[in-house]
Subunit: 393 residues, 2 copies
C-alpha cells in the first residue's frame, strides 16, 4: 500500500481516458488497460494535478477555534493591533489551528503551499519555530515553503531584520518584504535589507506590495532592479501588486516585459474590491501569475475556504472569463503557474513524476471550476490522503 | 405527512435554540420542547428563511445538457446572435433545462424566484408559455414571478411591444425593459412603452440597466419619474445599475433618496469585473437592494451554481465585508430584501407564516456564507423537498 496503486479510468485534462499506474509514490505509467493494485476506480472522473496554494498565512489562522467575529477598528493600524491582541490571547496553539487548516486545504486538493510566517520584535521567531515543526508532521504529503514576513514593518520596527536573519538560519526558504514605501517608509533601504539577506543566504524573495498607483508601479521597477542586482531572477515573487491594475497599457507593457525578463512572478488573490493585476495581459507578455488565498479565517477576515478551485473561479469572475481557454488559464494559475512561482520540480501529471493528484467529477477544468464539487479524492505520493472532503492523513 | 412536522433543536439567526412546530405547511409554534411529529432532528443546525433568487434567466439555461463551451464572438451583438443560434439548435426543451436548474436552486435553498423570460419577434411568447407551464409543476414548492424581457430590444425590434402585451395577457406579472438608451436608442419612448403596459395591466416593472456612467444615472432618474407618474412605487426594480458604482457621493445620495422614496429596488449580482452599486451606502439611505444569479450556465457564461449563499459571499468579497453585521447585511440581501423586491407576503420565519426553511450547519449567518456547506435540508410548506444537495420533489 505504500504509494502504489492503479487509478482505473480517469480522464486527463486533454479529455483522454486512461489508467494511471503508481509505484512507490510516483507515476509509473499512463495509458489504457494498465495492470496494478490496489485498484482505485476513477469512474471517468477528471484527474487534476494537485492544486498549488501560493500565498497563505497559516500561522495566523483561527481555523477550528469557533467563528472569529471581526471587531477591529477601521484603520490598518487598528487591524494590526487587533491581530496582535487576538493572537496573544488565543489559547489554541499554531500547530492545531494551522494544522487543521492545512488538512482542510489538502481535502480541497492543495498539496503545495507557500506560507508567509510573521516575525516581530514582540514574539521573535516563535511562529517560525512552530510552523517548521508543523511542516514535519505533513512531510511526505505536502510541500510547503516559508517566507519570513515582517507583518508590522521592517525598518520601522528595529530589531526585525535580525529576527528575519535568525529565521533564515532556522531554514526559512524566502525573505519577505512589505510595502517598502507605504509601510516601511524607506524603499531603498527596505529592498537592500530584503535582497541583502536573500543574497547572503541564497534564498528567494516574496514581497507584499499593496501600495497603489504610480507609487506601487515605481516600486515594482525597483524590485526588478534589485532582482537583477542580487541575481534573484526566477526566485522573486511580488504578492498582490494591485497597482498593476491601475497602469496605462503602455506603462503596463513595459513593466510586464521587465517582469518576464527577470522571471518575477505575480501572486494575486483576484480581489473583487480593489484593482487587480490584469492577468490575461500579463500572461500574454510572458509573466508568470500564480494565486493564493491570503488569510483564511483570521483576524483580518472570517472568510476563505482554502479551495484553490474557488480561487480560480474568483479569477474568472474578476475578469469576466467565460470561454474554455480562459477557464483553462484560471486553472493554470492555481496549478502550473503556482508550481513555477514556488520553483517546484517534477510538478504535474507525467510518467516519473510524484503521484500528487485530485480526482473530481467534471467534464473539463472549466466545469471543475464552475461546480467545485466537494467530493474529491486527493492522492499524495500515491496514497489517498483525502476523500469526500475529509482529510484521512 | 402533508406539511406537518416538528423541527427539533434548530438555531435561529439570533442564536436562540428552539423547536419549530409546523402544521399544514405553516409554522404553528416556535419555542422550547414543542410536541409534534414526524420529528426532524435539527441537531443545532441554523434555520434560515428560504433564500430568494431575485434575478434569473431560467428559460435560457443550458443546465443538464453538458458543458456549454462558449464560442461567441467578442461583441454584444455576437453574443446575442450566438445565443439565438444556440437556443434554436438545442434539442432539450426549456421544461427540462429550466426544470433541472430550478431543482438545483431548490437544493441550495432558494424557494422564491424572479425569472426574466425572453420574448422576441422570432419566437414570440413560446418561452413564456413553456415557463408558465413549468411553474405549475413546482406549485406548492416554490414561488416564481415572471418578467417579460425584450432581450434583443423593444423599439428597435418592431412587434416586440405587442408580444410583450400578449405575455401579460398570459399572466406574466412584470414588464421588463433593457437599456432604454444603450440598446433601445429612444429612452423616453422605451419607458413610455414599458410603464404604459405596466399601468394598463397593473403589473410591476423590472428594467435591465447596463448603461454606465452619467448615461446610466440619468436613466435611473427618468425611471424614478416614470415610477411616480405611473404609480409603480414599491413595484419597480432596476437590475444591475452598474452606474451607481460610478456616481460621486453627492450625486449618489440624491439618487438614493429618490430610489428610497419611490420604493425602487436595486438588483445586483455583485459583479467583480465592473462597477457595482455601492450596497452599504444604498442600504443606509433606505434603498432596498436584492440579489440574483443572472444567467446560469447559458450562452453568455458557463459559470453559476444558483447558490444564493455563494451570491452573498460575492457581495461580501466585492465590498471587503468582514464584520458580522456586514455579513448579516449580505444575508439580508438574499433573503428579506429579495422578498421585499418581489413583494412576497408572509416571508420569513415566524408563527403563522409558510414553513419555508433551510437547515445548514453553521454558527451564524456569517459562517453559513463563509462555508456554504453542501449538506442542507430544505423545507417547503412544511415538507422536506431537498436533502444533502439532492432535490427530492
Amino acid at each position: 500500500m505504500s504509494g502504489s496503486m492503479l487509478l482505473r479510468s480517469v480522464r486527463l485534462t486533454n479529455g483522454e481516458t486512461v489508467d494511471i499506474a503508481i509505484r512507490d509514490g510516483r507515476i509509473a505509467a499512463i495509458g489504457p488497460d494498465l495492470p496494478g493494485e490496489p485498484v482505485i476506480e476513477g469512474k471517468g472522473r477528471l484527474a487534476l494535478p494537485a492544486l498549488v496554494e501560493a500565498h497563505g498565512h497559516f500561522d495566523k489562522t483561527l481555523w477550528g477555534t469557533g467563528w472569529p467575529t471581526n471587531s477591529a477598528g477601521p484603520t490598518l493600524r487598528d487591524y494590526i493591533a487587533n491581530e496582535r491582541r487576538i493572537l496573544r490571547d488565543v489559547k489554541t496553539p499554531i500547530a492545531d489551528r494551522a494544522g487543521k487548516l492545512i488538512e482542510q486545504c489538502i481535502a480541497k486538493g492543495s498539496l503545495h503551499f507557500r506560507c508567509h510566517v510573521d516575525v516581530d520584535p514582540e514574539f521573535g521567531t516563535t511562529h517560525v519555530a512552530e510552523m517548521l515543526a508543523l511542516r514535519e508532521k505533513y512531510r511526505g504529503i505536502i510541500s510547503m515553503d516559508f517566507v519570513v514576513f515582517p507583518q508590522t514593518g521592517l525598518l520601522i520596527r528595529p530589531g526585525t531584520a535580525e529576527i528575519m536573519e535568525a529565521a533564515l538560519e532556522m531554514g526559512v526558504e524566502n525573505v519577505g518584504g512589505l510595502d517598502p514605501c507605504g509601510i516601511d517608509l524607506d524603499p531603498i533601504r527596505h529592498l537592500e535589507t530584503v535582497f541583502g539577506l536573500a543574497g547572503t543566504y541564497d534564498r528567494g524573495v516574496d514581497i507584499h506590495l499593496h501600495d497603489k498607483g504610480e507609487l506601487g508601479l515605481w516600486q515594482i521597477e525597483r524590485i526588478a532592479e534589485f532582482t537583477r542586482r542580487f541575481e534573484r531572477q526566477g526566485r522573486t515573487v511580488i504578492s498582490h501588486a494591485y497597482c498593476l491594475g491601475q497602469a496605462s497599457e503602455a506603462r503596463l507593457m513595459k513593466i510586464a516585459a521587465e517582469l518576464a525578463e527577470t522571471g518575477i512572478s505575480i501572486m494575486t488573490t483576484a480581489p473583487a474590491d480593489c484593482p487587480a493585476p490584469p492577468v490575461a495581459a500579463l500572461r500574454a507578455a510572458g509573466v508568470n501569475v500564480c494565486m493564493g488565498s491570503d488569510g483564511i479565517r483570521d483576524a483580518w477576515s472570517p472568510l476563505g475556504t482554502g479551495d484553490m478551485l474557488e480561487r480560480a473561479l474568483f479569477l474568472a469572475l474578476r475578469f469576466d472569463w467565460a470561454k474554455d481557454h480562459e477557464l483553462a488559464d484560471a486553472f493554470d494559475c492555481v496549478t502550473q503557474s503556482g508550481a513555477k512561482a514556488l520553483g517546484l520540480e517534477d510538478y504535474g501529471i507525467g510518467v516519473g513524476k510524484p503521484a500528487n493528484l485530485v480526482l473530481i467529477e467534471a467534464e473539463n477544468v472549466g466545469m471543475a471550476i464552475a461546480e467545485r464539487r466537494a467530493d474529491r479524492t486527493v492522492i499524495a505520493s500515491g496514497r489517498v490522503v483525502a476523500e469526500g472532503g475529509v482529510y484521512l492523513g
